[in-house]
């Protein structure tokens, strides 16, 4: 067996293991079969372990053989040869994707092990692990994607599983509303991504990253498009990344995402999902070399997000929210690093931050309990540092505090400028339609206006 064929085989294992986990958890659910908690935990453990071992083996083989770029071609998923339309399934193992895939496996594995205990006998145990498998598959596909369409595929899986996990405790309206908010933000980020993919096809004639970023292995590729084209595609991708990573002005979803169970907050919104946007920017970083305005935009967005995250995290009354905004600060700094061209530093920063934040978030629920245990043990309050003496805040400090407390009014601005005008406009159209149908039918045309939940008896069901 040659090194190339071994790499090929291991690459397939890396991609297939989460997909098989998804199938093995999803199919029984569809067929109405109940898998025990233990079986689900074992399947998860096996899948993550196999994927991780394969990914680490690839890394070792690449180091030993000195190869920096290992593409794995799975052929065309769909193609129309005469029209040059290809949906090319290609995965790339390089200095960027392999560490990120390993990070995904390690963190997902840790959180999977944690969740089997944390969610033991929870009603939504099966649902959680199904969404977990969907998320893992999405992360691995996104990390290893060699074409923009494949990346979009994984990106969407990550988005859906994240939104549904925010709404995990779905007996209450709060998590559900927050889940919908996350989904809405993601959909617009996805729309920007899709337009970028279409634009990229238009400019380069293909969706392969090789074609866009040049043939050199990451990070040495040189983008093969003009500066204006790079600015157009890059701006759209920056918008998509901002939405996915919760950067300004989309930061509102980040604290809302903390409504989900702690393990999902830890791995999805604290560590992996939140870094997917910066990962995208790293993947397309050769584009930044071509366009100075794009670099400036990336740096500016990163700076603003970092400052905003730092301010907001200081005034949060809830530990998970404080950690969420602290994550945003780091994501902002990573974005600045990418904009400055410090790609390896950004990658190392991302990995380090993801591990630290996962640990913090997993530890968060038990910290207060431990604190109380210590207090009980010593028999007095552990006040920590000496409390600062009270002092009068300046007007600026008060404004800043208010600004941070209201999370920069970002949600309110999005509501006022986008959501409400949209809803108002379409409700207006709806009322026009009502008048029109009332006129045509010569009377009240909408029974559904009087609709009450469960108003009909079963026999009266239409």
């Amino acid at each position: 067996m040659t090194v190339a064929s071994t790499l090929q085989f291991l690459g397939l294992v890396v991609v297939a293991s989460p997909a098989l986990l998804l199938a093995s958890l999803g199919l029984p659910m569809l067929l109405g079969w109940n898998l025990s908690e233990r079986t689900q935990a074992r399947l998860t453990k096996t899948s993550v372990s196999v994927g991780l071992v394969a990914a680490v083996s690839i890394l070792c083989l690449m180091v030993v053989s000195g190869s920096r770029h290992v593409p794995i071609e799975l052929g065309n998923w769909a193609s129309i040869e005469p029209e040059h339309f290809h949906f090319h399934l290609k995965f790339v193992f390089d200095r960027l994707s392999v560490p990120f895939a390993i990070l995904s496996f390690v963190l997902c594995g840790t959180v999977g092990a944690f969740s089997t205990i944390y969610l033991h006998r929870e009603k939504g145990y099966r649902r959680f692990f199904l969404l977990y498998a969907l998320f893992l598959a999405g992360m691995i596909v996104s990390a290893l994607a060699g074409t923009i369409e494949t990346l979009f595929f994984g990106w969407e899986l990550v988005g859906l599983s994240s939104a549904l996990l925010v709404a995990y405790f779905h007996e209450r309206p709060g998590p559900v509303r927050n889940g919908l908010r996350v989904w809405t933000t993601y959909r617009f980020a996805d729309a920007a991504f899709l337009i970028a993919a279409l634009a990229m096809h238009h400019f380069t004639g293909a969706g392969d990253f090789d074609r866009l970023m040049g043939s050199g292995p990451w990070p040495d590729g040189v983008a093969a498009i003009g500066s204006w084209q790079a600015l157009a595609v890059g701006s759209l991708l920056l918008l998509a990344a901002a939405g996915k990573s919760g950067m300004v002005p989309f930061s509102g979803w980040l604290p809302r995402a903390m409504e989900g169970p702690t393990p999902s907050s830890a791995v999805f919104y604290g560590a992996l999902s939140v870094h997917l946007g910066t990962y995208l920017l790293l993947r397309v970083s050769p584009l930044l070399e071509v366009s100075l305005p794009l670099r400036i935009a990336v740096i500016a967005l990163g700076l603003v997000s970092a400052i905003f995250g730092a301010l907001a995290s200081r005034v949060q009354g809830d530990v998970k929210n404080a950690l969420a905004f602290a994550s945003l600060t780091q994501v902002g700094i990573i974005t600045v690093e990418i904009g400055l061209g410090l790609r390896y530093i950004a990658l190392i920063h991302m990995i380090g931050h993801a591990c630290l934040r996962t640990l913090q978030l997993l530890r968060a629920p038990s910290v207060l309990r431990d604190h109380q245990t210590y207090e009980d043990a010593v028999g007095r309050r552990l006040t920590g540092d000496t409390v600062n003496p009270p002092r009068t805040a300046t007007k600026f400090q008060v404004s800043l505090y208010r600004f941070a407390l209201e999370r920069g009014y970002l949600d309110a601005m999005l509501d006022d400028w986008i959501v409400r005008p949209f809803v108002k406009t379409f409700r207006f159209f709806d009322s026009l339609e009502r008048r029109w149908t009332n006129y045509l039918s010569g009377g009240e045309s909408r029974e559904s206006d009087r609709l009450a939940p469960y108003g009909d008896s079963l026999e009266d069901v239409v």
Binding site: N76, L157, L180, L440, R446, V461
Partner: protein, 495 residues
């Protein structure tokens, strides 16, 4: 023209027609339901047989073996081609699954006899290419929902006005179409009338209110069965596409794109679950029309793929909603219902089919939507981006509806809401199609691309001699005069 090995087409049309008469004679409703399921099942088998048989022939068009109607009238009445071949099983599946998931409690409102009758009319429409016959069948298809509205003592004005206007425009337009009308020699006046008639039937904005009114007043099953086969889009393909110039089709595409975005926005603000479904469907059916109006191989292939994927996924979506409504009554989307705990199977189905309709990765609609977007952006670089906006809005609307129906609170039912075996089987069939089509899209795309190319070649002003000969050989005659002219010599498979 090639021949199928069996009279699949005639059987597909006659079986439900005979079934309709038989079922209406039965007094026992439960028995009538079982017989209806059997008839719909047999019809589905015939339609599938037709599709498999047709695919094995490798031809553009084919008609029945032992064609009784041909023997009587000396004309090919029922003919299928690459456009309609998969639409027949889709239509039969639509009726089969709807009847399968109809609960006993609904039989006093949902007429099985009329349902089978409309299935027969639909399959006849899809197997027929002659313009006048299509218009006649479109008119006949209006009767069952109209009768139901009357029986339910609902106002039929909106429905009658729109359908009357649509059919009138189609009839007048067809009257003025000359024998030699083609894309290179269009009859503008007739084309405009035909286009307007077909677009009203498709629910293009602003003349779409009949569709929301139908969902409001008719039973969900009847409304679903009337709109989901997209006969308006079929009318565009058969009556307008062969004779309309490119600019006219692009105007249809722009109008449809506007409707797609408008309907997606409207779906987001609806309070009633049925009206939400109606606008979601309208948005998607308009997207199909967008692709058909592009007249490029990629755009048309995308549209034909989306036609099938939307048909399957929104059928599943509608059935999931209907099954839930069968247990709770009509659902408002203003508050949360929290039904997940009691109907997890329907919840999964609702989400999966809804996401499939918006072209979520891994489902049947994904590649079709990608193709459609590529085709649209190729022709309308900036305007075409509206399609992405429509997809985004539809995606939000689907998940919003899911949350409102299945989550947000704890529901305490007084009766069991569990899934019945017939519902589970139906749902699984749809899921298999959605996931199977998503994981292995290539055969479908290949077939639709071939169909798209053939349809575009029919419009070519001056075909190459060998192409023209090939097309004439396949179709026997020109598109506008295809079927009611005599076919002097038919080529049998056995020849």
């Amino acid at each position: 023209m090639s021949e199928l090995h069996l009279p699949w087409l005639e059987l597909s049309v006659l079986l439900p027609l005979v079934g309709a008469i038989w079922v209406s004679l039965l007094k026992n409703r439960d028995r009538a339901r079982k017989h209806s399921i059997a008839v719909c099942g047999l019809t589905l088998i015939c339609a599938l047989g037709e599709w498999i048989d047709f695919s094995s022939l490798g031809t553009f068009a084919a008609h029945d073996h032992w064609d009784v109607l041909q023997l009587i009238f000396h004309r090919d009445v029922f003919v299928i081609d690459e456009l309609s071949a998969p639409l027949l099983p889709l239509g039969a599946l639509l009726y089969f699954t709807t009847v399968m998931t109809t609960l006993r409690t609904k039989l006093n409102r949902f007429s099985l006899g009329w349902t089978l009758f409309s299935e027969s009319v639909l399959l006849a429409t899809l197997t027929c290419r002659h313009p006048w016959l299509i218009i006649l069948l479109l008119a006949v298809a209006v009767v069952p929902p109209w009768v139901e509205l009357r029986k339910r003592q609902q106002s039929t004005r909106i429905f009658s006005l729109h359908m009357g206007l649509s059919l009138g425009l189609l009839a007048i337009g067809q009257f003025f179409v000359g024998d030699n009308a083609s894309a290179s020699n269009p009859s503008i006046f007739a084309g405009c009338l035909l286009t307007a008639g077909a677009l009203i039937r498709s629910g293009i904005c602003p003349l779409h209110c009949w569709m929301s009114d139908l969902f409001e007043k008719a039973t969900f099953g009847t409304a679903l069965l009337f709109v989901t086969p997209m006969t308006g889009v079929y009318a565009v393909m058969r009556l307008v596409f062969p004779i309309a110039p490119e600019w006219a089709l692009q105007c249809i595409a722009i109008l449809s794109l506007t409707t797609a975005v408008y309907a997606a926005g409207m779906a987001l603000v609806q309070h009633d679950s049925r009206r939400f479904f109606c606008y979601l469907f309208l948005s998607h059916s308009s997207l199909v029309l967008v692709g058909l109006g592009l007249v490029t191989p990629i755009g048309l292939t995308g549209a034909l793929c989306v036609w099938l994927s939307v048909g399957i996924s929104l059928l599943g979506f509608g059935l999931a909603l209907r099954s839930v409504e069968a247990r709770t009554g009509r659902l408002t989307l203003e508050n949360f219902h929290g039904l997940y705990e009691h109907t997890p199977f329907f919840a999964g189905m609702f989400l999966l089919t809804g996401l499939a309709s918006i072209g979520f990765p891994g489902t049947i609609g994904f590649i079709g939507t990608e193709l459609l977007m590529e085709g649209v952006v190729e022709i309308f670089p900036l305007v075409g981006l509206a399609i992405v906006l429509a997809a985004a809005l539809n995606g939000i609307a689907v998940v919003k509806a899911y949350f409102h129906v299945f989550t947000g609170t704890r529901h305490h039912p007084s009766i069991s809401m569990s899934c019945r075996p017939t519902e589970r089987i139906t749902v699984l069939i749809v899921v298999v199609l959605i996931i199977g089509g998503g994981l292995a899209p290539q055969p479908g795309i290949h077939s639709r691309y071939h169909a798209a190319n053939m349809l575009i070649r029919l419009r070519e002003p001056v075909p190459q001699p060998h192409n023209a000969a090939a097309i004439k050989n396949e179709l026997a005659i020109s598109p506008q005069t295809t079927l009611l002219t005599e076919t002097p010599k038919r080529k049998s498979n056995n020849d």
